[in-house]
């Protein structure tokens, strides 16, 4: 009996071990090794203790990268969630073409990020991009904004595109959550004289809380690991101004070939994600 059970579970274990546990363990180990180019051929990588971490912390790009990651993540979550929620509430109403519009809003989510990222690169191009052209002809700006070519706006531009990418996901999940709130509650509140804002504040928001926490936690983990959007738009530049921990880790490992340092940054990201995941699971357990 036990053996039969084992036979059913074993493939799942095997899969997890080969594709998740082994790479994860290797990455954790690599973060504590002096892993150079010759380590690849010789297989020898001396144990380095915390040296990789010390060197990464001392890297002049590190502090800026952490700030960028926080700003990028917070900005993306705030606007993705805010706009997603507004759209979800909007689509709860009955109006013609509701379904069509809702499916059209899913398009950013369905497009491969390399495709939409490339399109955004054209849109945001300083001299010939459609965004600057439009803003100029509307006299909203006097000279072209170097969206992707300035250290002061590159992070904003990258965040903007990531918000655009993330809105559909937020909208769909929140819309689903709204569907489960019974209409009677709103009707009763309306009879009691509650206005639209009070109904939103005291019915929609509290009843949406479980969905909200799922959306925000998943959004946080997705945003922390966003890679393709930044890679296509700016490669973390100019001068590291849109570098996040994810692209920094890639840059260290695969551009500078400092694999120990790259793995160390990767481990930091794992720790951050695990902390938030545990917080989420505990909150879940408490609420259920």
């Amino acid at each position: 009996m036990n053996l039969r059970r084992l036979a059913f579970v074993a493939p799942a274990w095997l899969y997890l071990i080969v594709f998740y546990l082994y790479p994860l363990a290797t990455n954790v180990r690599m973060g504590f090794q002096d892993f150079t180019v010759s380590s690849f051929y010789t297989g020898v990588a001396p144990f380095a203790g915390l040296r990789n971490y010390r060197e990464v912390f001392r890297d002049p790009a590190f502090a800026g990268t952490v700030t960028n990651t926080v700003l990028f993540t917070a900005g993306s979550l705030l606007f993705q969630f805010g706009i997603g929620l507004a759209l979800a509430v909007f689509f709860r109403r009955n109006f013609p073409l509701n379904g069509v519009l809702r499916s059209l809003l899913l398009v950013p989510w369905l497009l491969p990020l390399v495709v939409s990222g490339t399109a955004w690169r054209w849109i945001l191009e300083t001299d010939s991009g459609v965004l600057n052209r439009s803003l100029l002809s509307l006299h909203l700006i006097d000279e072209p904004v170097p969206w992707l070519a300035s250290t002061s706006v590159a992070l904003t531009a990258v965040t903007l595109v990531n918000v655009w990418v993330g809105i559909p996901f937020n909208m769909v999940i929140l819309y689903g959550g709204l569907q489960s709130i019974p209409d009677e509650l709103y009707e009763a509140a309306q009879l009691d004289g509650a206005g639209a804002w009070r109904r939103f504040r005291h019915i929609t928001l509290p009843l949406l809380r479980p969905v909200t926490s799922v959306v925000l936690t998943l959004g946080l983990i997705y945003t922390l690991k966003v890679f393709d959007v930044i890679m296509v738009l700016t490669q973390g530049g100019p001068a590291d101004s849109s570098q996040t921990l994810t692209t920094f880790s890639y840059d260290l490992s695969f551009q500078q070939l400092a694999f120990g340092h790259g793995a160390a940054v990767g481990n930091l990201l794992i720790v951050v994600a695990v902390v938030f995941a545990i917080g989420y699971l505990r909150a879940e357990r408490r609420s259920s």
């Binding site: 150079t36 690849f40 170097p146 070519a149 250290t151 100019p238 001068a239 695969f254 070939l257």
Partner: protein, 401 residues
């Protein structure tokens, strides 16, 4: 029950076998098929190279399996192959990456191949700890392309010095057209484009914040601040720069000879090529040496011997000349290069410069990539981040350590 256990056992064995079989690779058992890897993604290079490989393979009596990967994944891919002991028999590696790859120990020293008559700088670039690991079939460098029609209209001569360059760039900036275009992108390409100015000013990669280096960066910053070059230069690769020049959005550009096959196809574009301007008429021009070199990966003695024979064919005078002509390179053989310059005046500026070109890794070896990263970050911080050249280069020097 028993069936289930048996099925599980079979699955596990298969997985285990698969894992063991990995490192050796199937093609490695067949000594008549050699593997080759390069990063040419665009025509004409990516169409010409397989042809040459087939010809040389046929001469030696082997089949050459050609593979290309994007530039950004090239080194990671080679390192991964090194770790599974399956480095390709032949790899065409960018010359500043060679010391790194040779340091893995996975490359065969090319002791039997002669480097006589080749440009000394390219021979030096192929060496690691005294042994030759890479030999280039062709090399390249950078020069200044200028739009002949625009220069004629403005009654200007192609610039020879920095002052003339700045003046011409400003004079030719009009409407949506910039006077000058170059690549200050945040990769090795950005450093490569800056190095002619950096070195000609007298700066050295071992001290990024010298007054000479500041002078070179100030030249680029002036061009961008005066709007004689687009702010987008920090996002343009060399291919993007070429597109801007072809579209008439730039009157001059810094670029290499590999763009010639594309540029020559646009017959209504009249352009000339001169060496990169120098700070003063007496300065010594120094450009970075560009180009890829062939390396041979360790396998077994028979395969290595065959790979070396194919390599001899690829590096022979006629094949090297054929490749250079088709792909827009300068033959690494000095005599052949001179000959080509005489028959093709478009190349004379490049040939002139290659003679005094400097290998990027000559000074720093395996430490070059880190310094190069600090350098292109400084260029970007200065052009796109409002930092002064002094500040930006000072930060770069401390990052390069």
């Amino acid at each position: 029950m028993r069936k289930l256990a048996a099925a599980l056992a079979v699955t596990l064995t298969a997985v285990a076998l698969g894992a063991c079989g990995n490192g050796t690779g199937s093609t490695k058992d067949d000594n008549n098929t050699l593997t080759e890897i390069d990063y040419y993604e665009a025509a004409p290079q990516n169409t010409q190279l397989p042809k040459l490989l087939d010809e040389c393979g046929a001469q030696v009596g082997v089949k050459v399996q050609h593979q290309q990967v994007p530039r950004a994944q090239f080194m990671p891919k080679l390192l991964q192959q090194a770790s599974s002991r399956s480095l390709p028999d032949l790899a065409l590696v960018d010359n500043p990456d060679l010391p790194q790859l040779a340091a893995t120990g996975g490359l065969v020293p090319l002791k039997d191949l002669s480097t006589d008559g080749l440009y000394p700088s390219i021979v030096a670039a192929g060496k690691y700890k005294g042994d030759t690991y890479g030999i280039a079939p062709g090399v390249n460098g950078l020069a200044l392309y200028y739009n002949k029609d625009l220069f004629a209209q403005a009654n200007l001569q192609p610039p020879k010095t920095w002052d003339e360059l700045t003046a011409a760039a400003k004079a030719l900036t009009k409407g949506t057209r910039y006077g000058m275009a170059f690549s200050a992108v945040g990769t090795e390409e950005g450093s490569f484009q800056f190095e002619p100015f950096f070195w000609t000013a007298g700066a050295s990669l071992s001290k990024l914040d010298s007054p000479e280096a500041v002078k070179a960066l100030a030249l680029w910053k002036d061009l961008v601040e005066a709007k004689a070059a687009s702010k987008s230069v920090v996002t343009w690769t060399q291919a993007d720069v070429n597109d801007q020049f072809m579209a008439g959005n730039a009157a001059m550009m810094v670029n290499g000879p590999w763009q010639l096959p594309t540029l020559n196809k646009k017959t209504d574009l009249k352009f000339g090529i001169v060496p990169i301007p120098i700070p003063s008429p007496t300065a010594k021009p120094v450009t970075p040496l560009g180009g890829e070199m062939w390396t041979v990966g360790h396998s077994n003695p028979q395969r290595e011997a065959k790979a070396l024979s194919v390599l001899k064919c690829l590096l022979s005078q006629d094949k090297s000349l054929e490749w250079s002509k088709a792909a827009g390179y300068i033959p690494s053989n000095q005599a052949a290069a001179q000959q080509l310059a005489q028959s093709d005046p478009q190349l004379s500026a490049f040939v002139e410069e290659v003679a005094t070109a400097q290998a990027r890794t000559a000074e720093l070896g395996t430490a070059y990539p880190k310094v190069s990263e600090a350098l292109f970050n400084a260029i970007q911080a200065c052009l796109a981040g409002g930092k002064s050249p002094e500040e930006a280069l000072k930060a770069a020097q401390s990052a390069a350590g």
